[in-house]
């Protein structure tokens, strides 16, 4: 399994999208590329599993290393572990669904698809890179297209949102870059290679400075309170596929970075900072949930609920047990699939009713049974119904958090459990108001989903069910990787 393929396919697709002649060809080329990538992601998953079954216990599999800037010890180093594989699968699912729901984009189709594919390229590269500079390089590739996607194809206050999002994410990346540079210069032997850094000893003083930089930097991406305000505005202004990518992929870049870079490499400082992380994530969980309760626009509801759900991602990291970190990864996968589906459904509804205000909806189950059923599924997933992905992920986070016996962690866990009720309140309010109740006369003539929308929704539901009904495969996939991080956290800090 050559990991370069994962980067090459989106690259080739993006170039082809620019070369072909009309919008129809653009769509099919993108779909073909996304399908190939999905197949490749599955091949990677099974190849990875096979390697693990065969007893290959290396930290990172399928490694590739090319010189990039030899004089600075920067190399183009790729490799995957369980977390990366899970994230790549998630990305592949979201990308193909995003390509499918954008089938009707008429405005500058070619550029739109080019940017989508470019964004996915950044995400794939990010998840496979093992050198911090390469990782940062791909992170930036994943940020820039979002600005254009929102600014050009968005709706509402799109310029404001695009600026806000781009500036906040750029601010986050700057913090990340500073953190990476600080690590690079303070690591023995000047290296930015993740595996080298993991083995080398970085002094606690340096870690103390680097960790907040990296954690907050990545945290901006994953809606760390109080750096979350780009989320509601960005999502609500973005085009449907843009919101899907933003919530399904971009927010995961942050979670992955917090786990892989901040926590794994700076494990001594991570332990010292666990209390503020837990406090911030619990605030995000509850505060996001309560703020969602007051929203009236479907996209805002989902965006604010994302803040709450991503709080679980950070809570799992902050609790720093193996189970909680596995829960973090599961929550990232689950939230990615679920929120992508939610935005897709909202997009479908908006396209037909021309409104996103919950109060103006009613009885859509009658005219759009498919879309409404999807809305139910995604709503139930969001409020953590067993059998759908949210439950397994949240329970793993809770069980992992509960392993810490101190009162502080206990209280934090219980408080975050309470968000389950609040989630039920706002999800049910939105879903029942939209799909149930008497049908509004102006919606009587609306049509149900088209083939591309159905296919997109089914692909995402398949993912949600795969995680929800049989979470053990994901658990088995991720566990060795989180065990590795846990082992790093268990190391004693050097005495000097």
């Amino acid at each position: 399994m050559n990991l370069l393929l994962l980067i090459a396919i989106p690259l080739v697709t993006a170039v082809l999208v620019l070369l072909v002649r009309n919008a129809v060809q653009v769509r099919w080329v993108s779909l073909l590329g996304a399908t190939a990538q999905l197949v490749l992601a599955f091949v990677l998953f099974f190849a990875f599993r096979q390697q693990r079954i065969d007893g290959n216990a290396a930290d990172m599999l399928f490694q590739l290393q090319y010189n990039w800037f030899p004089s600075w010890h920067i190399s183009f180093h790729l490799g995957v572990d369980g977390i990366s594989v899970a994230m790549i699968l998630l990305t592949a699912f979201v990308v193909i669904a995003g390509v499918l729901v954008s089938w009707n984009v008429e405005k500058m189709t070619k550029e739109f698809y080019f940017l989508l594919i470019l964004l996915s390229l950044g995400a794939y590269g990010f998840f496979v890179s093992l050198d911090l500079f390469v990782l940062f390089f791909f992170l930036e590739i994943a940020v820039i297209p979002k600005y254009l996607l929102i600014g050009v194809w968005g709706s509402g206050r799109k310029e404001y949102s695009a600026n806000k999002l781009a500036l906040m994410l750029m601010g986050g990346s700057v913090l990340v870059l500073v953190g990476i540079l600080a690590m690079y210069y303070n690591a023995p032997g000047r290296s930015a290679d993740i595996q080298t850094l993991a083995r080398s000893v970085i002094s606690p003083e340096v870690q103390k400075i680097c960790f907040p930089l990296l954690f907050v930097g990545f945290g901006v991406f994953t809606a760390l309170f109080p750096f979350h305000t780009w989320v509601p505005d960005g999502h609500s202004s973005a085009p449907t596929a843009g919101s899907m990518f933003l919530a399904g992929i971009s927010m995961k870049l942050g979670g992955y970075g917090c786990l892989r870079v901040a926590t794994y490499l700076l494990h001594d400082a991570a332990k010292d900072y666990s209390t503020p992380i837990i406090v911030l994530s619990v605030i995000a969980i509850l505060y996001g949930a309560f703020a969602t309760m007051m929203q009236k626009d479907l996209k805002y509801i989902n965006a604010y609920s994302s803040i709450s759900h991503c709080g679980f991602v950070l809570l799992g990291i902050g609790m720093m047990t193996k189970t909680s970190m596995t829960g973090t990864v599961m929550q990232m996968v689950s939230h990615g699939l679920m929120t992508a589906l939610f935005f897709a459904v909202i997009g479908m509804i908006y396209e037909r009713t021309h409104t996103r205000q919950v109060s103006e909806m009613g009885g859509l189950l009658k005219t759009m049974p498919f879309i409404s059923t999807m809305l139910f599924i995604v709503g139930l997933c969001s409020l953590g119904l067993p059998g759908l992905s949210g439950f397994a992920a949240e329970m793993t986070v809770f069980m992992g958090s509960w392993e810490n016996p101190d009162t502080f962690s206990r209280v934090a866990t219980i408080l975050s459990c309470l968000s389950l009720v609040v989630t039920a309140v706002y999800i049910l309010r939105a879903v029942t108001k939209t799909a149930m109740g008497p049908l509004k006369p102006e919606f009587a003539a609306l049509t149900d989903a088209r083939w591309n929308e159905k296919l997109a929704a089914i692909i995402l539901v398949a993912g949600i069910l795969a995680v929800g009904t049989a979470p053990f495969w994901l658990n088995d996939l991720v566990n060795p990787a989180t065990q590795l991080i846990k082992d790093a956290l268990n190391l004693q800090p050097p005495i000097d």
């Binding site: 703020a291 007051m294 049974p369 329970m395 793993t396 069980m399 389950l420 008497p438 049989a470």
Partner: protein, 644 residues
């Protein structure tokens, strides 16, 4: 032999029905979906009976004690060593008993719905939901793992939500399904935290290991769980009480009962299945499942169960006397009867003669499932005939609905505890257990039993006697064979189930429990029950103004009971006024104004500063030169005088 393959088919067949009808029902099985669902349910019920026979009479017993068999178990999600969610099947007396009850009542409801919902547009969806519910309920009762029970707990919750909201274009149904879900969800959080506590102290999620670890006083798990305490109550008691909160939510115990009367917005067969016979007793089942831990390790938590049960039974009975919607009367009666089961568990001890309450509770669960399902299905037949839920629209129906009339009467006699109907035996045992253990609860239960007889016969006389029904042309008689057959079968159950020697099969420790029958003890409850019946007859047999007069003389008490003691209003106040206004709105405001404001402030400040300093770039060459000169002079001064 008790083979895991066919036992696992019992829940999986309804699930198959759900998947099949849910995906393809609307297209391919528009008319046949009812038959498909019922057929699958029939196979499942037969398998359940076969399993029960095998368990109770052939393989279940070893050395005179019913064993806990675990024919199937696989790991679903592993958290750490010993700590995993397993999907498994456990067979013990209560789970096998529940297996029979659930499949039997579900089958009856499946058959009944064939007639009741004939011609509905969303027929396939209805049967799909029924299949989902039956699957979840069966999964719940067979759970081998406390997290598995939680999973199916949530799934029955969602099926209940879907079925209450079946008439989705009716705003009251939508509100009711939402309310049911959210209230039970609130309770489930307690359950979840309870699970977390218990799992932490026992180090396992598996029921068998958990019970073993937390009931033997020598084990280290037990010692830490009992010594660790919070607010003066041991961690173990906290865990159990929180688990019981979950059970109380699902079983509509006071004060979490507010969703149950509203849940009557669902189709009546659904109320019979979910909100009378099966799902609402899940809370009782949960306490029974963890009973050894409650009884041996935490008598405090058990007495909480007892008092909550007794209070619920009493309050619900009072409210039931004043309601006019027949389904709501039945809903409160359900709540009251479940209260009976709860406090029966609460007053029970573990093992031998002390375990009478446990047996009685399970016995009452069993008989209650029969007669309450019958009552609901009978009420369904009445509603089907009258097209109204209100008592004032009814009366004199005994002529038009003879079979419904007889079966309804049997059910009323059973619930009122008149010998020799089923309810008499189970209620007798409960009262006996309460009498020996806790006098206060015994007296409350006794009054409740009189009230029960009164409101049930108030219902009976108002529907079938009272004023004469004006014949109008469109009467289509009773609902046909599909609707009558379940009524008759259930009536047989309600009449005869009391003669089952229940103690031989179900007891707290698995050993045979001989339940003695004390004639002298039965006099008081039976006499009170008959008094209630005669009072109802006096007031409601014919149309008079007696009920109004009595209601007027009771004044405030009647009004409070009629308005369900204003508990709904209290909840509304807490949720809307306090949570929405004091937490939700400030949070949204804080986000919009403070957090977002800070971000915008940062942006605006940057712009302002840029605006201010851009004037330097005036485009006037001579100004630039002047800056240059000033700079040079400044530097010169610095170099010459400061940094010499």
């Amino acid at each position: 032999m008790l083979n895991a393959t066919y036992i696992s088919l019992i829940p999986l067949l309804p699930l198959a029905g759900f998947v099949l009808l849910g995906l393809f029902g609307r297209k391919y099985f528009k008319n046949t979906s009812g038959i498909i669902g019922t057929g699958l349910m029939l196979v499942s019920a037969v398998l359940a009976l076969y399993t029960a026979y095998g368990y109770f009479f052939e393989y279940g017993k070893a050395d005179g004690v019913y064993q806990k068999l675990v024919p199937l178990k696989y790991t679903w999600l592993e958290f750490g060593k010993g700590l995993s969610i397993d999907m498994g099947i456990v067979l013990d007396p209560i789970s096998v008993m529940m297996l029979v009850v659930v499949t039997f009542i579900s089958l009856m409801v499946h058959i009944y719905s064939l007639g009741y919902l004939k011609g509905e547009e969303r027929f396939p969806t209805y049967y799909a939901y029924l299949g989902l519910f039956t699957f979840s309920m069966l999964g719940l009762v067979m759970s081998s793992n406390i997290f598995q029970i939680y999973i199916f707990w949530e799934l029955v919750g969602v099926s209940s939500f879907l079925l209450i909201g079946y008439y989705y274009d009716k705003p009251s149904a939508v509100a009711a399904c939402k309310k049911a879900f959210i209230v039970t969800r609130f309770a489930d959080v307690g359950f979840l935290i309870g699970i977390l506590i218990l799992s932490f102290y026992s180090g396992t999620l598996d029921f068998n290991t958990l019970i073993a670890a937390l009931t033997s006083p020598e084990s280290s798990e037990y010692k830490t769980a009992v010594t660790a305490s919070f607010l003066g109550i041991s961690a173990l008691s906290w865990g159990l009480i929180l688990v019981f909160v979950g059970g109380a939510g699902k079983s509509a115990m006071f004060p979490l009962h507010i969703w149950l009367p509203d849940a009557m917005e669902g189709p009546t067969p659904v109320s019979a299945l979910i909100h009378a016979a099966t799902m609402v007793v899940a809370g009782v089942f949960l306490v029974a499942r963890l009973f050894p831990v409650f009884a041996i390790s935490s008598p405090g938590a058990l007495s909480v169960v007892a008092y909550v049960g007794a209070i619920s039974a009493f309050i619900a009975a009072i409210i039931a006397c004043t309601q006019t919607d027949i389904k709501r009367v039945l809903a409160y009666s359900t709540m009251s009867q479940i209260g009976y089961m709860m406090f029966a568990l609460g007053v029970s001890g573990y093992g031998g003669e002390n375990g009478l309450g446990y047996t009685a509770s399970m016995f009452h669960l069993f008989t209650h499932a029969m007669f309450k399902a019958l009552l609901f299905l009978g009420a369904g037949a009445v509603i089907h005939f009258i097209h109204s839920n209100e008592m004032k629209d009814m009366g004199g129906l005994r002529k038009y609905l003879p079979i419904t009339h007889i079966t309804f009467l049997i059910a009323c006699l059973a619930i009122a505890g008149v010998p020799p109907f089923a309810g008499f035996f189970s209620k007798e045992e409960i009262l006996l257990a309460a009498y020996h253990h806790n006098q206060a609860i015994y007296w409350m239960a006794l009054i409740t039993s009189a009230l029960t007889a009164f409101y049930m016969f108030r219902l009976y006389f108002s529907i079938f006697w009272n004023k004469e029904q004006q014949p109008h042309g469109e009467h289509h008689g009773e609902g046909g064979f599909a609707m009558m057959m379940p009524l008759v079968l259930l009536a047989i159950g309600a009449a005869a189930a009391g003669f089952i020697p229940f103690g031989h099969y179900v007891s707290s420790d698995g050993k045979t429990l001989e339940t003695a029958f004390h004639l002298s003890f039965s006099i008081a409850p039976v006499a009170l029950g008959l008094a209630g019946i005669f009072l109802a007859m006096w007031m409601y047999k014919s149309q008079t103004d007696k009920p109004e007069k009595i209601a007027a003389s009771l004044g405030g008490l009647y009004k409070a009971a009629y308005h369900k003691f204003y508990i709904d209003e209290l909840y509304l106040f807490i949720t809307h006024k306090i949570i929405f206004n004091l937490i939700g709105r400030p949070a949204a405001w804080f986000d919009k104004v403070v957090v977002d404001g800070l971000v915008n402030l940062a942006g605006n400040t940057t712009t302002k500063i840029a605006e201010t300093i851009k004037g330097f770039q005036s485009g006037k060459v001579q100004q630039y030169a002047l800056y240059f000169l000033v700079g040079v002079i400044g530097l010169a001064v610095l170099f010459i005088y400061v940094w010499k």
